[in-house]
């Protein structure tokens, strides 16, 4: 039914090259601010990709912080028992949220469009409450501080540079997974995005693809949570608030929801802007609002989409 496509398209390759290039930055410079901004951007990119996967099917998910929390707290709790191996933790940070997404998905995915949005919003609120109520496991409102550093093949990744390199690694891995997933199911997701009922009537088993997307998106969000906890050395409820869901959605929409480059561009730009406004932080949210209005009204494809369209016009 669907044409055979190359495993990775142009946009995906560009994305992978970009994320690979990020590894170079900690090698070129020692500047702590650059490290900080880049690290925040790398965490944000992974979270934005989680949003983007669902957006491929025209489903807007606010549940990203909830799955990030599962990933992040898993690592923090394992750290209490001195379990810090990078490969094991990466696998767990991906798998546990993905597993949690299975029953949640069964509940949430039967809801059409708008209900889905609202219910995922409620899910992230529930996660915050669960974190507060389970003090013995998650440290409750205090969180878990002093999470030990990641150990990769025996070396403790403690310095700022090592933490950043690890974040680059997680982001690269997430991009690979996201690229492969969305490329492989490109036409299935597109069909669902266009017209779900029509797709179903044509024989597409819609719920399967939604489920795969939801579960993998949850896993990717878990990786973002791991990266965040590693950056802060702390798992704290305030890092996984439902408000941050708005930020990740903004990054994706403003960057452009048409290609995998969108979340990358959007996150890089907006994280940089937020740091630039450090002391005028109160205006940041208002600025996001104006940007969202402008992008939605004038630049439907976001930054990446508009750039591509301009390029095409110039090309003729």
């Amino acid at each position: 039914m669907f044409r055979k496509e190359p495993v990775l398209g142009g946009a995906e390759i560009a994305a992978l090259v970009t994320m690979a290039a990020a590894f170079a930055i900690p090698m070129i410079t020692k500047n702590v601010l650059v490290y900080s901004v880049l690290n925040q951007a790398l965490v944000g990119i992974v979270a934005a990709q989680s949003v983007w996967i669902m957006l491929r099917m025209n489903l807007l998910s606010f549940a990203t912080p909830a799955f990030m929390a599962i990933g992040g707290y898993t690592v923090a709790i394992a750290g209490r028992y001195e379990i810090t191996d990078a490969f094991l933790m990466t696998a767990l940070a991906f798998l546990l949220p993905a597993l949690a997404a299975v029953p949640l998905g069964a509940l949430v995915l039967r809801l059409r469009g708008t209900y889905f949005v609202l219910v995922t919003f409620v899910l992230s609120q529930i996660m915050q409450l669960l974190l507060f109520e389970s003090e013995s496991l998650t440290g409750g409102s205090n969180g878990i501080a002093g999470v030990p550093a990641v150990t990769l093949l025996g070396t403790e990744m403690m310095s700022n540079r090592q933490v950043l390199l690890f974040a680059c690694g997680i982001a690269f891995l997430a991009t690979v997974i996201t690229a492969l997933l969305t490329r492989y199911f490109r036409q299935h997701f597109a069909a669902i995005e266009e017209n779900e009922i029509l797709a179903e009537s044509l024989g597409l088993v819609v719920w399967r693809y939604k489920a795969v997307g939801f579960v993998i998106a949850a896993g990717i969000a878990g990786l973002a949570g791991y990266s965040l906890v590693n950056m802060l050395l702390t798992a704290h409820p305030s890092s996984f608030s439902s408000e941050s869901a708005v930020d990740f959605i903004a990054y994706t929409i403003i960057g452009g929801r048409g290609t995998i480059l969108g979340p990358i561009v959007g996150t890089a730009l907006l994280v940089y802007a937020t740091n630039l406004f450090g002391t005028h932080g109160q205006y940041a949210q208002g600025l996001y609002g104006i940007l969202i209005l402008a992008v939605i009204l004038a630049a439907r494809g976001g930054i990446a989409g508009t750039a591509a369209a301009a390029f095409r016009r110039v090309r003729g």
């Binding site: 560009a14 702590v32 900080s36 880049l38 704290h236």
Partner: protein, 399 residues
Amino acid sequence: MKHSRTPLAAVLTLFTPLALSIPLDLAATAAQAQSCEVKVGAMGPMSGGAAQWGLAMAGAAELAAAEVNAEGGIAIGGKKCKVVIVPYDSKYTADGAAAGSNALASQGIKVIIGPVGSPEATGIKPVAARNEQLAWNAAYAKNALEPKFPLMFHIAPGPGTWSDAMVKHALQSFPAIKSVALVAPNDQGGTDIASVDAVAYRNNGVTATEEYYQRGTTNFAPIITRLLANNPDAVDTASSPPGDAGVIVKQLRLAGFKGPIGRMGGPGTEEILRVCGGIDVLRDFYWFETVAETEKVRDIDNLYRKLVGKEPPGGTALWGNLPAARLTMKAIANAGTAEDASKVAAELRKLAVDDPNMGKGVWSGQKQYGINQELFFAFGVGIIKDGKNLGVTRMEPGT
């Protein structure tokens, strides 16, 4: 066609992160090349609901810097250098404070006045340690100080230090209190304080129950119904934000609760009075004043107007933060550097706690946290009885 869109987009995304990092790098080195400046960071929430605390922290740092600059600056390596305060908005979150520590470190700043809240203190501790920075946090968290973070100092003591004295004083004014219900939000800023307050009450023979509400609650009527079911003699709003506490007071009185209301938490009495409808509604109230106000203390506001040239950030937080900022300036001068946090910390620990406006205080914290790096000045216990403000009683440190 699909493939023509990617090269430009690829160029964009490939070089955006690289391109962005260059101006940041240049900016940092350019700043260091300027003539004789000593940079000190100030951190706290400067947006959102807790903005007044962050602005007060920055204000204290600015005033201390202005005082030193009025004398020509701090003597570093034979020259007198101007002190410049670099503020950062940490947004009352752990990641905000961590990002702030890194942002300030990138400018070579190793001394920070702030941050303010419990999540911020939690977030900054490991990162500041990694960046080898000295910081002063104002959080009331149970672990505001830890022996494993020797560069972390504490602006003022949390309830573990003063709640006992406060309870005793409150019981003098309101001896009929045999049971109290504490109300606080269910996050770190609420639980750390209310639970410690509860212990202080129990140690003084008052039974205490703790009730936590979801932060963001606007209507407290159900919580109040629940609280009043046990017929407490008093209700303590602990560290609930003043806006919430005002509503709680209003609704408690509407429900017919006539007992005294307490606030063993932070400042904000003015806002509470504004929201609840006035002193006649509040009627019987006892609260913790972070600063024991005197003429000399109030003069800090005049100093601020004179030296900084702006209206001071409102409230008492500016006064409470000032001694830490001033002592830090002295420590930097004694150490002869602001770039080696350990040296500055060593000098800081040697200084006597004596402030021209706030008076004499002591170093404390050994009992609470195992490390003696907290400033303890006289605090106050305010009493409103029968609708009359009886004023704030000064309580000396060590009581």
